[in-house]
């Protein structure tokens, strides 16, 4: 069988694209953008319903919208984009051919069919079971079948990624260790394999239950195994978006990690412990002991939190070092003030980093503490937290990477170039508002999923304080800003990809797989890489952090003080709602 060895070198970035990998990246990125569009439109229905003054949708439509919004955003948008990242970080960064592109296409179409099938089930109206789909609340069989198909497709894509690593190693297209960005993608792919396998373990029997082959699904076993899928799927995002942070720091600034060893060890902590945070969804469940809960969400999860703090420190630290080397050495923060805030790739990445750390990270640790979890369990605090991690953290990081990929991967000039610099601010700040206000409402006890906090017509009403209603209104207003930011992103990316002026690559010709036979790529000479993004040379060492990156050190201290204060404020709050007499 002919092997397509058609490569092109991007004249702007120096990156080498293998044609079949490039096509798969494009297809996955486009499918991701379509999922984002669908999920974004549905978000407006959800948010304008929970804003009590508007209260747009009736209950059945609200739960339908909420279900489809959750699945399109948390699963389809994110995982399609992550598959594009896996192909990019393997084939492109390692300058090797993609292993088994045909299987990659089979996986892609399985994911597409799965996503369509799942959306069909939801929009039928009889599968409004939300993202969690807790048994014994049943959905149409196509709901589960669609998810299973999608998951298996994603799993196959992960193995194409691993096979590509083998190809790169055997064809010696790199020397030494893989680049740090690729290592981050390996972390994401490993977590993806665990996540998808967990999904299969619970969704296959649930599908069989939905068609009548099994008569009972234990609800607690379902919840336990489901969250190994449901929450770990968001841990794939964390690894992937941290890899994107490192990539953008390298692309925009030529920054190198402060310490390769420390950053890789932090990713290793993710591989071992990040998935265990799934247990925080079960902290209020009877049947599971405190030993299991506290080990998973505290001892083990804190090691993953440590890893996130390492990444949160080394990414801005590496940017500071790069900026100082360019002469921005005045004071603590000239490097940050003079950063390219008008470049959406940078501003999006930095807002993602700040939002993920300050909002998502701190609130995540608070939620993972068994006692404190009682304050906010199943309240709107939970969506507030994950909109900070998944939307501000992951989605914004992926959006910022897109601004780099449009000219490099899609070979198109950016459309609406005047609007692009504003997009990360409108979307990021809007979504930070959504996260903050939802967490505020959750702290006041507003339930996570109830359609109507006025409880109109209920025999046992409950009256929330006016501040809770205000928080809901502010969350609604913020979400409109975020929606506008999302629409700007889609206008820019879809417009650029389909209607943008084409960038011609000298010497590039479309050649079919059967004809595209050129020689094997030459083994890499040491050091392997010519581009900063694919580089993996050591930095200054973490020990010199305070000396070489004093501004980042101060930011880290601010973060730690905020962390400690917020943590202990919640203990104080707990003591007031549950006094010891």
């Amino acid at each position: 069988m002919a092997v397509n060895r058609m490569f092109r070198t991007c004249p702007a970035s120096g990156l080498v694209f293998h044609e079949p990998a490039e096509n798969l990246m494009k297809a996955n990125a486009v499918a991701a953008a379509v999922s984002l569009l669908v999920g974004g439109i549905l978000a407006i229905g959800v948010t304008l319903t929970r804003w009590q003054a508007v209260h747009m949708l009736p209950p059945d439509s609200f739960y339908l919208f909420l279900t489809a919004h959750g699945l399109n955003m948390l699963v389809f948008w994110i995982i399609f984009f992550e598959m594009a990242i896996l192909y990019f970080t393997s084939s492109t960064l390692l300058k090797c051919r993609l292993a088994a592109p045909g299987i990659g296409w089979v996986a892609f179409w399985m994911m597409v069919v799965g996503a369509l099938m799942n959306n069909y089930a939801v929009f039928r109206g009889d599968s409004s079971v939300m993202f969690t789909a807790y048994a014994p609340m049943g959905a149409h069989p196509t709901f589960y079948l669609g998810l299973i198909l999608f998951a298996v497709g994603a799993l196959i894509s992960c193995f194409v990624f691993f096979a590509t690593l083998v190809v790169a190693k055997s064809e010696k297209t790199y020397n030494g260790s893989v680049p740090l960005v690729t290592f981050g993608a390996i972390t994401a792919a490993i977590i993806a394999v665990f996540t998808i396998a967990s999904g299969a373990i619970i969704l296959v029997p649930t599908f069989l239950w939905s068609v009548g082959f099994i008569d009972h699904i234990d609800s607690l076993v379902y919840r336990t195994v489901f969250w190994a899928f449901g929450h770990s799927s968001q841990q794939i995002n964390v690894s992937a978006h941290v890899a994107v942070w490192y990539a953008i720091a390298a692309i925009v600034f030529g920054a190198k990690p402060l310490s390769e060893k420390v950053s890789r060890t932090a990713f290793f902590l993710y591989i071992c412990f990040l998935q265990l945070a799934s247990a925080h969804h079960l902290l209020a469940d009877p049947g599971l002991t405190s030993n299991w809960k506290i080990f998973n969400t505290s001892y083990a999860m804190y090691l993953a939190v440590l890893a996130s703090m390492v990444h949160g420190l080394t990414v801005p630290g590496s940017i500071e070092v790069a900026q100082r080397q360019k002469g921005y050495t005045n004071g603590l923060f000239e490097w940050l003030r003079k950063a390219p805030w008008g470049n959406p790739a940078f501003s999006g990445m930095f807002l993602s980093l700040i939002g993920f750390g300050f909002l998502g990270g701190i609130s995540g640790v608070m939620m993972g503490t068994e006692q404190l979890n009682l304050l906010i369990h199943n309240t709107l605090y939970v969506p507030g937290h994950f909109h900070a991690t998944v939307v501000v953290g992951t989605t914004l990081a992926f959006m910022s990477l897109t601004y780099f990929l449009i000219p490099v991967l899609f070979r198109r000039q950016m459309m609406f170039a005047g609007m692009a610099p504003w997009q990360p601010y409108v979307f990021g700040l809007g979504m930070m508002g959504v996260s903050l206000f939802l967490m505020g409402a959750g702290t006041l006890g507003v339930p996570r999923r109830h359609w109507d906090i006025a409880f109109a017509g209920n025999p046992l009403p409950y009256e929330f304080p006016g501040s809770a209603w205000l928080m809901m209104a502010l969350a609604g207003i913020s979400s409109i800003f975020a929606f506008v930011g999302g629409a700007m992103y889609l206008a820019i990316t879809v417009g650029s990809v389909f209607f943008g002026k084409k960038i011609e690559t000298p010497g590039f010709k479309e050649i079919s797989a059967q004809q595209g036979m050129v020689g094997r790529p030459q083994p890499a000479a040491a050091p392997a890489d010519t581009t900063v993004i694919a580089g993996h040379q050591g930095g200054v060492g973490a020990g010199g952090m305070c000396m070489v990156a004093p501004g980042t050190f101060v930011l880290a201290i601010v973060f730690l003080v905020s962390f400690v204060l917020y943590y202990f404020i919640n203990w104080k709050y707990l003591s007031t709602v549950w006094p010891l007499r």
Partner: protein, 58 residues
């Protein structure tokens, strides 16, 4: 382990042994095994064992 020294013409080439931790981090399939085994045992297996140990109501 001591460094391996190989004569190569007029000069010597020093080949430092790869540290064990780097060998681990350079092996994606070993990492894959660890990344599946650790959460499977600590989260799924121990969790499900606790659930199935709950006495059934009579």
């Amino acid at each position: 382990m001591s460094n391996a020294i190989q004569p190569a013409g007029d000069h010597e080439v020093f080949e430092e042994p790869v540290p064990p931790m780097q060998q681990l981090l350079d092996n994606p399939f070993l990492l894959l095994f660890i990344g599946i085994a650790v959460p499977t045992v600590l989260y799924i297996v121990l969790g499900v064992m606790e659930i199935v140990a709950i006495p059934i109501a009579k």
